[in-house]
């Protein structure tokens, strides 16, 4: 097991990249602690798979270094990196039994038979497949095969990290729940460093201690699920995390007041901003609907009853704006205003979060 460091890492599939746009992965420096659970989150084409392939050794970065502990593994082939990987589609050796599948990595490393048998039994118990050990892998369901792939990684004691590449894609919804819970408890018990690539925020946030959000080849924020939700560093994070995502409104900010669609919105602290596009962001559950009085003019268009809460979709000026409120909360009959909780308003200039004055000082 090892700490993983990405040192000024960047990658371009072009041999001679000219500009920023040619980089599939823009320069980044990150450190992942030994035994942590991390997620790479982003929509398709954001570079998360490229990053994973660099860590696993499938792709050699055009720039920078990858360190496992203090060892530079940038130029090492996959086999020499001592990692395990679970792929999007289950990879099992069809002609082997479950037992042979689990034993395969140990056999190849020349581990003695007795030791293999002991460890295979242990892993089978972990992934709950003791009953099926002697079945051919070919006929098993997708989730069982995924468990075997995982087991083949866990059976080794020398793994530096276990990588997951959207491992729940082909799993039935009700099995996803179970597999996710099982992964979580395996991590808790055995403390492998785990890196999990996904486009699904629920999977990322429930799995990881720290989530790395990527957009267009760039790491826009790395943080705990809570910090991503409460204090997104970039408007993309605000939009991508939470459903519906953060509301963003064009604004003029002057000191501790923002002006939005002609209305004044109090902020928690004064800001001094540089030139650029200024937006304020607010989570849908931090906005309240009211009739008349203070607040920003709001036009309610549609109410969606989502069970334990309701999504009120509408517009502020011509910008979409959503409010989320609890199951029992009433909707005022003449609702035409929203008021925002000042403590939960974020200010963004050119998509990046800006800190208020005193905190920045």
């Amino acid at each position: 097991m090892a700490r993983i460091t990405l040192d000024d890492l960047a990658h371009s599939y072009d041999r001679h990249p000219r500009g920023d746009a040619d980089y599939a992965l823009k320069p980044m420096t990150l450190t992942w602690r030994d035994g942590g659970a991390y997620a790479l989150l982003g929509s398709s084409g954001c570079g998360k798979t490229t990053l994973l392939n660099i860590i696993s050794g499938l792709v050699r970065p055009s720039r920078g270094r990858v360190l496992f502990g203090d060892r530079d593994v940038t130029n090492l082939p996959t086999a020499a990196r001592d990692i395990a990987q679970v792929f999007q589609f289950p990879v099992v050796y069809d002609t082997m039994t479950v037992r042979q599948n689990l034993a395969f990595p140990l056999k190849n490393r020349g581990v003695p038979e007795a030791e293999i048998a002991r460890r295979v039994a242990g892993v089978a118990a972990m992934i709950g497949m003791e009953e099926t050990l002697d079945r051919r892998a070919r006929g098993l369901t997708a989730d069982a095969k995924q468990k075997i792939s995982l087991g083949r990684g866990m059976v080794r004691h020398d793994v530096n990290a276990i990588l997951f590449d959207e491992p729940l894609t082909v799993i039935d919804p009700h099995m996803k729940w179970e597999l996710r819970t099982q992964l979580k408890s395996l991590h808790r018990e055995f403390g492998h460093t785990m890196i999990y690539v996904t486009h699904d925020q629920t999977e990322a946030l429930t799995f990881a201690d720290e989530v790395v959000v990527m957009s267009e080849g760039r790491v826009v924020q790395a943080g705990t699920p809570q910090s991503l939700f409460d204090r997104p560093e970039h408007t993309f994070v605000g939009y991508f995390i939470g459903s519906p995502g953060m509301n963003l409104l064009d604004a003029q900010v002057d000191g501790a007041t923002a002006r939005v669609a002609g209305a004044a919105v109090p902020l928690a602290a004064p800001y001094r901003l540089n030139a650029g596009r200024v937006q304020i962001g607010i989570r849908p559950d931090a906005a309240r609907l009211s009739g008349g009085g203070d607040g920003i003019p709001f036009r309610l268009e549609r109410v969606e009853d989502v069970g334990h809460h309701r999504i009120l979709r509408g517009r502020v000026g011509d910008q979409p704006f959503n409010v989320v409120q609890g199951e029992g909360a009433p909707i005022p009959a003449d609702a035409d205003r929203v008021t925002l909780d000042p403590a939960r308003i974020g200010v963004f200039v050119d998509d990046w979060r800006v800190e208020p004055q005193e905190r920045a000082a």
């Binding site: 696993s56 499938l58 082939p77 996959t78 086999a79 990692i83 395990a84 990987q85 792929f87 999007q88 589609f89 990879v91 050796y93 069809d94 002609t95 082997m96 395969f104 990595p105 190849n108 490393r109 079945r135 051919r136 070919r138 006929g139 792939s149 083949r152 990684g153």
Partner: protein, 288 residues
């Protein structure tokens, strides 16, 4: 997914059935007809029961031809299947060289059988053929016209040259369908090259391999044109395979009855062996 059942669909197949009946079943029936009758000319036929079948089954000549045939098919499969797999494994996966390889591999398959025979007939001649002449110049005592071993070697090399590409192309298609993740997983598991072949490539190729084995077996078991052109079945009867023997019997000696019985038995043997191959290989694939 279950499909809606529509019995009217059978009518669409009807024209093909009629066509097959005329082109295959009726000639086959003629053969069956000949095989149970004898004639002394004048278009007079009389019933001979299973007499011809008995004769053919007991004939040393047919036994010998069958032995040669089995040996030939066995050697062909033993060479072409592994060689085809080996070539497929070593072909470039993508890019210009992959396309070039594919085109080169396809070339022998496009040449008509009798032309292949003619090419090798000339190629192997000691006086003017490049192969024969070179071998002779190197001091080998090579002559496929006189020496049975040389004749066999020539025919086998010719068949390998002609047909290995087919096996290679089929295997190549099978290999192309293996997702990269499998190779990557094998690397992570530190599988040896042999392990990758044995546990990933071979299982994933088994479907096309089954087709390749069947095609090559049936085709080699019925081989006629090429050896006929190159050696004419000689020297002596050394390269007289079943089909050559059959033609000699039917056309050369005009023994229509035995020839008809022979061809029916020949047909059944091919059917039987192909069926055995198929069942054994699919059963192996479907063991739970």
């Amino acid at each position: 997914m279950e499909k809606p059942v529509n019995n009217r669909a059978w009518f669409l197949v009807l024209p093909v059935l009629v066509l097959v009946a005329f082109s295959a079943v009726i000639p086959l029936m003629t053969v069956v007809n000949y095989s149970v009758q004898d004639t002394f000319g004048n278009n007079e036929f009389f019933w001979n029961g299973i007499g011809w079948f008995k004769d053919v089954l007991e004939s040393d000549r047919v036994h010998a031809a069958l032995g040669r045939q089995l040996l030939f098919s066995g050697i062909i499969l033993a060479i072409e299947i592994p060689l085809g797999i080996f070539i497929a494994l070593n072909m470039p996966k993508r890019g210009f060289w992959a396309s070039l390889c594919l085109v080169l591999m396809a070339l022998p398959l496009l040449i008509p059988w009798n032309v292949v025979g003619t090419i090798w007939q000339v190629f192997g001649r000691v006086d003017i053929g490049l192969l024969g002449h070179t071998l002779a110049a190197l001091g080998f005592d090579y002559n496929y016209v006189n020496d049975p071993i040389d004749a066999w070697a020539t025919i086998i090399v010719m068949d390998v040259w002609h047909w290995t590409s087919l096996v290679a192309l089929l295997c190549y298609a099978g290999l192309q369908s293996i997702p990269d993740a499998y190779y990557q997983a094998a690397r992570i598991d530190q599988a040896s090259r042999w392990g990758v072949f044995r546990f990933i490539e071979l299982p994933k190729m088994s479907g096309v391999l089954l087709i390749a084995v069947l095609l090559r077996f049936m085709d080699s078991f019925m081989i006629y044109t090429e050896p006929f052109v190159v050696t004419g079945g000689g020297p002596g009867n050394a390269t007289t395979f079943l089909s050559i023997d059959l033609v000699k019997m039917a056309i050369g000696q005009f023994d229509l009855g035995p020839a008809a019985a022979f061809s029916l038995i020949y047909f059944l043997v091919i059917l039987l062996i192909s069926w055995v191959f198929y069942t054994v290989m699919t059963a192996q694939r479907e063991v739970p």
